[in-house]
Symmetry: C2
Subunit: 335 residues, 2 copies
């Protein structure tokens, strides 16, 4: 009976045609005569034939797979980007192979492995800390970076990080804050650097003071946000408004302050970055800069597909707009 899965040969035999015709019926139906096409489709129906992707890929010299390399699968920030990627790749018949750069030994090595192994038609790279030299492989499949980036030549999808920082600073300034601080992401990360720069530029454009001790180092995590809260408390002169480079840090920051009996925004105004889902469910709701993460994924996937199919691209980098979300965690400074 069904002891074996049907192959194209079985279909061909039953339909009384050659395997070539069956294949063509599936790939370009327009070139086969209507009557044969129907016979073939009937035979496919009765046999329950499903095309063997491995064989097809071997013959067509492709893999039907794109690899998504991210620094940390467990970080929920990426899950929505994955959703965006999947929404484009799945309909285009590409599978998404997910790999974690942190789990293996050497991340650069791992990238090189995937680029040379021929296991993928393309790579989506979400980790900007790899070295650009790792991409120096002749004949490698196309690579698109998303969120983070490494250089100006590799195609990438980014958000307006500097503008987001400026929006945050402008908002705090408009509320009356003159002493504004910042909690950064990890050093060396392009996002951290770009947002910090945007923060600095916005301050000086507004003629506001910037003290070194008002820039507290974090690493995007909730824990580092809680640590930043303790650092802020320990300051002699505390900024009244704070822009944190990620919502996760803002959550940790506010939580730590509240557990110590302080109140946001009465004691300090807080602005985050990302607009993760929880931002509007917190109390107070977290003022933040929205990054359309699904859209980032969608655009990155579209760019990659275009590179795979045509090898061409309109522009090397695509900039995605951010949007400011004012909520209750920011208010006028205490007098």
């Amino acid at each position: 009976m069904d002891r074996k899965v049907a192959t194209i040969q079985d279909v061909a035999r039953i339909a009384g045609v050659s395997t070539a015709t069956v294949s063509r019926t599936l790939s370009k139906p327009s070139v086969v005569a209507r009557s044969t096409r129907e016979a073939v489709l009937d035979a496919i129906e009765t046999t329950g034939y499903r095309i063997n992707a491995t064989a097809s890929n071997l013959r067509r010299q492709r893999t039907g797979t794109v690899i998504v390399l991210l620094p940390d699968i467990a970080n929920p920030f990426f899950s929505q980007i994955l959703a965006g990627l999947a929404s484009v790749l799945t309909p285009a018949q590409y599978g998404m192979l997910i790999a974690d750069t942190q789990s293996g030994p050497d991340p650069d090595e791992q990238l090189a492995h995937y680029l040379t192994s021929g296991q993928a038609d393309g790579v989506i790279l979400l980790d900007g800390t790899l070295s650009p030299r790792a991409l120096d492989i002749p004949g490698r499949p196309p690579v698109v970076m998303a969120c983070e980036w490494m250089d100006t030549t590799t195609p990438s999808v980014r958000v307006e990080n500097a503008r987001g920082a400026a929006l945050a600073v402008g908002h705090l300034a408009r509320l009356g804050h003159r002493h504004i601080g910042h909690v950064t992401g990890p050093t060396g990360n392009v996002l951290s650097e770009t947002r910090l720069e945007g923060f600095r530029d916005a301050l000086s454009a507004l003629g506001l003071p910037l003290r070194d001790e008002w820039v507290i180092e974090g690493d995007f995590s909730m824990d580092s946000g809680a640590a930043a809260a303790r650092a802020w408390l320990a300051l002699d002169s505390r900024p009244t408004g704070l822009f944190l480079s990620s919502d996760q840090m803002a959550v940790g920051f506010m939580g730590e302050l509240q557990r110590r009996g302080l109140t946001v925004p009465s004691d300090v105004s807080v602005v985050g970055f990302d607009n993760i889902e929880i931002a509007r469910h917190l109390s107070p709701g977290l003022t933040t800069v929205r990054q359309p993460r699904t859209r980032i994924g969608v655009r990155a996937a579209e760019m990659l597909l275009s590179l795979i199919d045509t090898g061409l691209l309109e522009g090397p980098t695509e900039m995605i707009e951010v949007e400011f979300m004012a909520r209750e965690s920011s208010a006028a400074p205490p007098r």
Copy 2:
């Protein structure tokens, strides 16, 4: 030069042996003579040869891929399970293909598609709402369910959901609560049902009353938690302690109450389920039931690999322990 990627033929030619020998050098080195082995390895080195996975898989009638089917990629709850899966599958040379059951049209159809398409050597199923009939496919690859489950025959990894509920109820009762309510997950979901049942059983075991209106329907999301807060506020007689079937709902619940000026745990004690990262960063810290999600992923992957390799399994289901985490969101009821 490097215009083409080297094949096993190139290696064979350079090493002066047949392709069979090259293949053997790679798969079982012990059967080839030491001198030839070294010559082959040298040739591999100079050509930069990498085995073509597609061709190898075609010949060996496997795919080197397992498919992970989950209800919603964007849900951060799953990302840590994915991390656990990856930590086992990647070292075992399996790729992880991620697919979303909600994105496509008919989830059952989608599962059937993956089971018959021969695109995977195994399937990890994280969605228990599919119909068990969808697994009724002769010769299908092995399937392991994780977190949720559908029947007693399909291998699965679960946590002690009923016990978790009992721990939550016991904790509240010990604090002095006599009126305890519950916010459920979506109806039809096994986790919702099992936790609800555990909740009911625990109440009656303790001789505590259960009113129907104290069971509020949710769907695991933060939004539904906020909605539950409004429903709780609208009750004539409100339970003083509440067990919510997910931390996300607890977050939404507490946030909504706090924004309306109420205080947790003074006005109501809250216990969640999952112990997501944010639980300990909230203010007050969220009392909850910990599910070791990485471990769930690890065990599910190990079971699947064992099924793929040997077709055997020790037991059909594996139960993972939960752990109660008392924090500040629960306290003695208001007098």
